[in-house]
């Protein structure tokens, strides 16, 4: 019927929005950022717009406009709640939308993360994912006291030392994901037997040690949490360079990328597909989503004016790793449909000011895409995997013993 499958749409939630002055907008709720009600309202709105999922940003230290150190600013939102807990808090209040918290692989235990995301999958009945992130921030490392990182200004990222550090962090993240995935599979789906006749609650032959040995950690397993409803919750990662593209190609179900035009999008998709093939999983579905910061209004000039007003409040012109789109929902729909020709299967939109732009997405962009036959009219599945067209994966250990 259509030349393309419908687009997938996600929204990236962070504070009052991605523009640093967003909290000063009339519709912002900066005093509510640490309440459950605030997050419940946002996710409910995203679900009203039939979005595939929301992501929740996180970090193990205060936000900063610097990449590797604190900026000492007091005119921007600082402080945030644990993303897994926020996702879990809103899970019972929603029914269809996927919930994808950020998890920092650099300082966390994969055993804890595995059971936390498996549990998010239980409390949301199959709507959990995670977004894996690494950090080279020195101040965050000092919060744990186990390791130190050298300063890594942007100009040093392409030096041998910088490249080595980044490669090391991503290698650790890849191990982290591997452990988390193995732990999800460490229980076969039918391991719990409750066999009154033999007195056995489980069939222990269907529980598996994962015996992971890596440079940064070793994990024995099995998980203490049974295999989650989706089997494997959805793993995602943001990627800007070749090293993270490799991680996405090798380990993720969704990669978020930040092209600034369709040619870049094409090149990035090609690189990820090559990494995917090199990892021996060319046949597996792997979504590549384009990330965009969006300022949306019914009128192009109004959107432009709003962005300018925010820049004036911030004292500088906002820029981002991702392309910043300013315009109408219809113009954004044009761009998304154009870019999908590059092989992007969906988009993760970062609202410039959540109090305004989230509704522009759910009540402006979504109907526009629906009119063009490019977006769902109703949720067609109850699980995040279902919404993304990902099959429930077989258990690697069950396959090995079958």
């Amino acid at each position: 019927m259509f030349a393309h499958p419908p687009l997938h749409l996600a929204v990236a939630l962070d504070g009052t929005g991605w523009h640093p002055a967003a909290w000063r907008e009339p519709g912002a709720r900066p005093h509510d950022l640490f309440t459950a009600g605030y997050w419940a309202d946002l996710v409910t709105e995203a679900e009203r717009g039939l979005l595939d999922f929301v992501t929740f940003e996180d970090s193990l230290g205060p936000q900063s406009s610097h990449l590797t150190e604190l900026d000492g600013r007091t005119d921007q939102v600082r402080g945030r709640l644990d993303a897994v807990l926020v996702a879990s808090r809103v899970a019972p209040l929603t029914r269809h939308i996927g919930l994808v918290p950020t998890v920092v692989a650099t300082h966390t235990e994969p055993f804890h993360i595995s059971k936390a995301i498996a549990t998010l999958d239980y409390v949301s009945t199959g709507r959990a994912g995670l977004r894996v992130q690494v950090t080279a921030r020195q101040d965050e490392a000092a919060h744990f006291g186990r390791r130190t990182f050298p300063p890594l200004p942007a100009e040093d990222r392409d030096t041998p030392a910088g490249r080595e550090l980044i490669a090391d962090l991503f290698e650790e993240a890849a191990d982290h994901i591997e452990v988390v995935r193995r732990l999800w599979d460490s229980w076969e789906d039918d391991a719990e037997i409750r066999d009154v006749a033999t007195g056995r609650f489980i069939d222990r032959d269907k529980l598996h040690y994962i015996d992971f040995e890596g440079r940064h950690f070793s994990v024995k397993g099995p998980s203490i949490t049974p295999r989650p409803p989706q089997g494997q919750p959805v793993v995602s990662a943001l990627a800007h360079q070749s090293v993270p593209y490799q991680l996405v190609g090798r380990s993720a179900d969704i990669g978020y990328v930040t092209p600034h035009d369709i040619d870049q999008a094409r090149a990035v998709v090609a690189e990820i597909r090559a990494a995917q093939a090199a990892a021996g999983r060319a046949e597996e579905p792997l979504h590549v989503f384009g990330d965009l910061v969006v300022f949306l209004d019914d009128d192009h000039t109004a959107a432009q004016d709003r962005r300018t007003r925010l820049d004036d409040l911030a004292g500088y012109a906002y820029s981002s790793d991702a392309e910043v789109f300013t315009g109408t929902p219809a113009e954004l729909a044009d761009l998304l449909l154009e870019w999908r020709e590059a092989g992007l299967s969906g988009f993760r939109l970062r609202p410039g000011a959540i109090g305004h732009d989230l509704e522009q997405i759910t009540r402006g962009l979504v109907p526009e895409l629906q009119r063009r036959g490019a977006f769902r009219h109703t949720y067609e599945a109850d699980t995040l995997r279902g919404l993304l067209g990902l099959a429930r994966p077989a258990n690697r250990y069950a396959a090995a013993t079958a």
Binding site: A36, R78, D82, R89, P92, D139, F144
Partner: protein, 490 residues
């Protein structure tokens, strides 16, 4: 998973309800002493050997609907809080995963946060291990849970040291046993520094002036100690309770001292009225040395219960529950913890083994509480053999006798009176009830015992506050005074 390490409130030998029953309620007028208000909480009966999973009414121990049912029942009954244990490695016996009890549980934080969405008042208490976590992360999660629940979070701080559990973590198992409490104490102290690193008024969020944070140093902390050398800025603003409520388990001298110095509530394992009173007096007596008052630490033992229409019916039911909890196989496996040998060739309906336990480190059962419960297994074995011979008990009967689990057995009236007696006579400030059925095991208690306690004027008819500290009668901690240097700078 090993339960003391992971913080299931342990249940000891049964209190005989008859012996414990006295006339506390009626003696009130005589003594003129005002009635103490009872605190009640419920432990979700997940992984433990009290659960009767073979009962047709037993539901899932993992699906969220079970937790939601249980939490709603506890809240309907106006309980102070719900309690969740934690597990970090599956138990093993003889080198194989233990398969006779309930196995498998969800992540503590994640379930509690979801439960905050389906309850309004109920406190949410989670066991989190201080050995295989880092203070910054755990403090962040508890502060976050306190925000997301509107001030209902509590942390049961537990310790572990064993390499067996450590095999799932970066830290491994290298923590020497003698450091378990020192790390726990420093962990809690560090987390408290983080909780206190925001005063509560830093977020201004004034649109006009553009000031979001009045202090760029909000959350600043420095901690240098034996176990942690960390510094930086905590990124969660002060939570509704200031700090989550702190629970402590443990009956050792060190454990009691730790609780007296830093906990808001303590679990305990004693079960007779006298043992409870002795423990209560001992722990409360330690408070003054730490500059604390009698009402700043609550004693909340774990307790199981079996209810019947009559006391006799309850006793029958209790026996049936015991039989289901201790199958022949379970009895043999339990004996192996003490004997530290493979006893699978023995008949559970026959006499106890006449051989002695294998001394030394227990290698047959790993991750189990009972492994560490018996310091002198040879003496335990001798006592058990003597008792079995004297009373003509089989292995299974002996295990049923020695591992009795029902603290309160009787009609609702008997159980209400027994609980009230324990509280009014200072054997406890209340109880954490552990039903043996998931998730409906609390329903009868809520419907029959709670109204009787309410009639006696010893239990609330409704919540009078919104936070767990309110329910427990604990003060909200004052924020740390702002340091001079920062006041001058701002």
């Amino acid at each position: 998973m090993s339960e003391p390490t992971t913080g299931t409130p342990g249940t000891g030998t049964p209190a005989t309800s008859k012996a414990a029953t006295s006339k506390a309620a009626t003696s009130k007028a005589a003594s003129g002493k005002p009635l103490k208000q009872i605190h009640l909480a419920a432990h979700f009966p997940g992984v433990n050997n009290t659960t009767v999973w073979s009962d047709p009414r037993a539901g899932s121990q993992i699906e969220f609907s079970s937790f939601a049912h249980f939490a709603r029942t506890a809240e309907r009954a106006k309980f102070d809080f719900l309690f969740l244990a934690e597990g970090l490695r599956l138990r093993e016996q003889g080198g194989r995963i233990y398969d006779l009890d309930v196995v498998g549980r969800p992540d503590t934080f994640t379930v509690l946060s979801a439960l905050a969405a389906v309850t309004e008042h109920l406190g949410l208490t989670g066991t989190i291990n201080s050995t295989f976590n880092e203070p910054y992360e755990v403090a962040r999660q508890f502060a976050g849970l306190d925000h997301l629940s509107g001030g209902r979070a509590a942390w049961n701080v537990v310790t572990s040291w064993d390499a067996f559990t450590g095999e799932n973590f970066r830290r491994g198992g290298f923590l020497p046993q003698d450091q378990r409490y020192s790390r726990a104490k420093e962990f809690l102290a560090t987390a408290t520094e983080l909780f206190d690193s925001w005063h509560g008024d830093e977020i201004v969020a004034d649109r006009e002036s553009g000031i979001f944070l009045k202090d760029a140093q909000a959350g600043a902390f420095v901690h240098q100690g034996q176990h942690f050398d960390i510094a930086g800025q905590f990124n969660v603003p002060r939570s509704p309770q200031g700090r989550p409520v702190i629970f402590q388990a443990g009956d050792s001298d060190e454990g009691r001292e730790f609780a007296a110095s830093s906990a808001d509530a303590i679990f305990s394992r004693h079960s007779t009225l006298e043992a409870g009173q002795e423990f209560y007096a001992d722990v409360k007596g330690r408070l003054a040395r730490h500059g604390r008052t009698h009402d700043q630490l609550l004693i909340l033992p774990a307790a199981t219960f079996v209810l019947g229409d009559t006391d006799a019916e309850a006793q029958e039911l209790a026996h049936e529950v015991r039989r289901r909890q201790v199958s022949g196989q379970t009895a043999i496996k339990y004996l192996e913890h003490i004997w530290n040998r493979d006893l699978s060739a023995y008949d559970p309906d026959g006499p106890l083994p006449d051989i002695d336990p294998d001394p030394g480190e227990n290698t047959i059962a790993r991750g189990r509480a009972s492994v560490r419960m018996f310091r002198d297994p040879i003496a335990v074995a001798r006592q058990w053999r003597e008792r079995a011979a004297a009373e003509n008990l089989s292995i299974r009967e002996l295990v049923m006798e020695t591992t009795g689990r029902q603290s309160f057995i009787g009609s609702p009236a008997t159980v209400a009176e027994t609980i009230n007696t324990f509280v009014q006579t200072d054997a406890a400030d209340g109880f954490i009830l552990v039903p043996h059925l998931t998730p409906g095991g609390l329903d009868d208690f809520a419907d029959t015992v709670v109204p009787l306690l309410q009639e006696r004027g010893v239990f609330r008819h409704d919540y009078t506050g919104t936070t767990l500290r309110d329910h427990l009668g604990l003060a909200h901690p004052d924020a740390r005074p702002e340091p001079e240097s920062r006041r001058a700078a701002s």
